[in-house]
């Protein structure tokens, strides 16, 4: 299997992932179209600073990931480790955000009386937010497991092939890209209102 073939296979998989997320984005688009104002209001509940921070973290991890592919062995491990650490940090912040929302009483599915605080449109926004960022977080977790496996291989000196690292990189960048769309769509919606 050549590099070209391995990459092509991963690109095909990523294209299916793109279609998957686009189903979710359609849901967002239609509901936002119906509930424009409610979405803007609900977006005010977002922790924009945390979201911004997380976006920076993820971009940095992508940068490290890209660097890892063009480095010597020691640096590879360092950069991959950095990516892994930043990924964990991202998830940590994300779950902290969820916790804050739950404390506020507006986390869907876990907040009794959410309907008192938010109207239908706003509740739908929160539902979409959790579904979207939740699916994204799930993909991050898969990515972290894969990263951990690669790092473990390095640790035992059974180094993964350059192809494997490339495919990891492609996947990681893709997950970063999805977040780059989620961030403005959920966090920046109500900032100016």
């Amino acid at each position: 299997m050549t590099r070209k073939e391995a990459r092509f296979g991963m690109w095909l998989f990523l294209s299916s992932e793109l279609v998957f997320f686009s189903g979710f984005f359609l849901l967002y688009a239609v509901l936002r179209f119906r509930f424009m104002e409610d979405f803007q209001q609900a977006s005010k509940h977002m922790y924009v600073f945390l979201g911004f921070l997380n976006t920076v973290i993820l971009l940095t991890s992508s940068w490290l990931m890209a660097l890892a592919l063009h480095s010597t062995r020691r640096k590879k491990i360092f950069f991959l480790g950095g990516t892994f650490f930043l990924g964990l940090l991202f998830l940590g912040l994300k779950f902290y955000e969820y916790f804050l929302h739950a404390k506020e009483g507006i986390f869907p599915g876990f907040s009794v009386g959410i309907s008192e605080k938010l109207n239908s449109g706003q509740e739908l926004f929160m539902n979409l937010y959790v579904l979207g960022t939740g699916l994204h977080a799930l993909h991050m977790i898969f990515g972290l497991i894969a990263l951990a496996s690669l790092l473990t291989l390095f640790y035992f000196h059974r180094d993964p092939t350059p192809d494997a690292l490339e495919r990891m990189g492609l996947y990681w960048h893709f997950v970063d890209l999805v977040w780059l769309f989620l961030f403005p769509l959920f966090y920046l919606l109500g900032v100016s209102k």
Partner: protein, 521 residues
């Protein structure tokens, strides 16, 4: 021995694993249909309650669509034959191939578990708000099983695309690929681009049901039609996943038993790709009476008529191939001819229902049921049976008994028509689908239909018997019992582990017989 099968990376063994699994699922789905047709013998309830009937038709739909039709030809014949047809020793990602089978089995197990717990009563289409808020059945469980099996589709699609791009033998140009390979390429594109939406929408259904969210619930601000858009964006292309491989099989059968190249090779290629492409643009025709805007319906109606054109082109090409061909009527050819006739009827009735006015009258009636069974059973399953007989000698090294096979094919054809033709009439007369009771004046048509179903069952069970028997008692088959073109016929029956003893070099297309190095006449 078990390990060599369960941990195999050989595409041929994986294909056999799939065969075992899908045959079991076919039996389960068929059993559900049997119970349904028995209940429908009388206008009033006699064998099962309405609730049980709902669970039966849901089971039948889910199992037949996702666990039989979609994997049947691609995952058995595609897996087995594509590497052989392109001169490769295996697919490009053999481990992914094995994983896709395990994922399929896991998804099937989850769905089967949902069945054992009592099943689902929403219909295979899972429409909300019933599926999300009112159904007291195992919706999330069944939906999860289907979701999981979808990954098997995606992995298969990826594997076929990369394999066809990068593992073709020396001299195997795109223009020399058998049409079977081309249709699987088109199918793989659809698998890749459509299935993820199914995953997305099933996730939404599950979250809505479990967490009481309102994406599709009008009382909470959502819209059930949004579900239908997402669901059918996948499920319409899914029907092309189910039929395109069958069309590829028919091309191979017709070429073989007419001893002629397929007429208009490139027309057939481009038609296959066009079906895959345009098939994505027509999903709204399932929603004509749902409350969708009439203007959108207009566009979808027009495009649905357009999508019939490439299919028709293929039928014309097959007919042109038959013309002045040296035709013989072995079992595979009988199935192939049956496909052409029945698919044409199914396709034409598809154009009927694509017309807005007509669809308003027959939507949710037996007319639609008959239409899609003509395509799925009269088409896809016939192609499957034809493929089974065409490549049985290659895959097992044994011949099946020809006269018994011909008899079975005729029984299947007759049984099929007796079962489903009356349903066209029932539909036009107004008999709605998914009900276990009906007005008594329709009883005679239902009874004819059930009688047909008995014949149909014989048409399935009989080959199961003689094919299994032929494993042990069948006459040994040579490399090329049909004198067919195609690389798979140049190697032994069954092929060696690495598929070809000598390196393959291709100098001509698969329909130019006797123009290849190393073929034995």
């Amino acid at each position: 021995m078990i390990k060599s099968w369960l941990l195999t990376r050989d595409h041929k063994k994986i294909a056999w694993l799939y065969l075992g699994t899908i045959t079991c699922f076919f039996a389960i789905g068929g059993l559900a249909a049997t119970l349904m047709r028995l209940e429908l013998l009388t206008p009033t309830e006699w064998l099962v309650t309405s609730d049980t009937y709902n669970r039966l038709f849901t089971l039948h739909g889910i199992i037949m669509v996702w666990f039989f039709l979609i994997p049947s030809i691609p995952n058995f014949f595609g897996n087995y034959l594509i590497p052989l047809m392109i001169g490769a020793d295996d697919v490009l990602f053999p481990r992914l191939n094995l994983i896709s089978w395990y994922v399929f089995v896991f998804g099937g197990a989850v769905t089967f578990y949902a069945l054992l717990r009592g099943g689902v009563d929403t219909g295979w289409t899972f429409y909300p708000p019933y599926s999300t808020h009112f159904s007291r059945s195992f919706v999330a469980l069944a939906a999860s099983g289907v979701l999981i099996s979808g990954f098997s589709s995606i992995f298969t699609g990826i594997n076929f695309i990369v394999t066809i791009h990068y593992k073709r033998a020396e001299g195997m140009t795109w223009g020399r690929l058998p049409l079977f390979v081309w249709t699987h390429y088109a199918t793989s594109l659809v698998m890749l681009l459509a299935t993820p939406i199914l995953a997305a929408v099933l996730v939404m259904i599950c979250t809505e049901r479990i967490f009481n969210i309102g994406f599709f619930d009008t009382t909470l601000g959502g819209d059930p039609i949004l579900f239908q858009h997402l669901f059918w964006f996948y499920s319409h292309p899914a029907v092309y996943i189910m039929i395109l491989p069958g069309m590829g099989v028919v091309s191979e059968i017709v070429a073989t038993f007419c001893r002629k190249p397929i007429f208009g090779y490139w027309f057939v290629v481009w038609s296959s790709l066009a079906i895959a492409l345009v098939g994505f643009l027509v999903w709204g025709h399932h929603m004509f009476v749902s409350g969708q805007s009439p203007y959108a319906s207009l566009i979808f109606s027009f495009l649905s008529m357009a999508v019939a054109v490439p299919s028709a082109i293929k039928v014309f090409n097959w007919l042109a191939t038959l013309y002045k061909g040296a035709i013989s009527f072995e079992a595979p050819m009988l199935y192939g001819l049956g496909f052409i006739g029945l698919f044409t009827i199914g396709g034409l009735t598809g154009v009927f229902v694509a017309a807005l006015g007509f669809d308003v009258h027959v939507h949710d009636t037996y007319f639609v049921v008959a239409h899609f069974h003509y395509i799925m059973v009269g088409g896809a399953v016939m192609a499957y049976m034809g493929a089974l007989h065409l490549w049985w000698p290659k895959m097992t090294g044994r011949m099946y008994p020809e006269n018994q096979a011909r008899l079975a094919a005729v029984v299947l054809f007759l049984g099929f028509n007796v079962t489903f033709f009356p349903q066209f009439i029932l539909g036009i007369l107004g008999n709605p689908r998914r009900y276990h009771t009906y007005p008594p004046e329709f009883a005679w048509l239902h009874q004819i239909s059930t009688l047909g179903a008995v014949l149909l069952a014989v048409g399935y069970i009989y080959p199961l018997y003689y094919l299994s028997r032929s494993f042990f008692k069948g006459e040994k088959a040579g490399k090329n019992p049909w004198q067919a073109g195609g690389l798979e016929w140049t190697t032994s029956s069954p092929p060696p582990e690495k598929n070809f003893e000598e390196p393959v070099e291709v100098v001509a297309g698969p329909y130019a017989l006797h123009a290849r190095k190393g073929i034995s006449p």
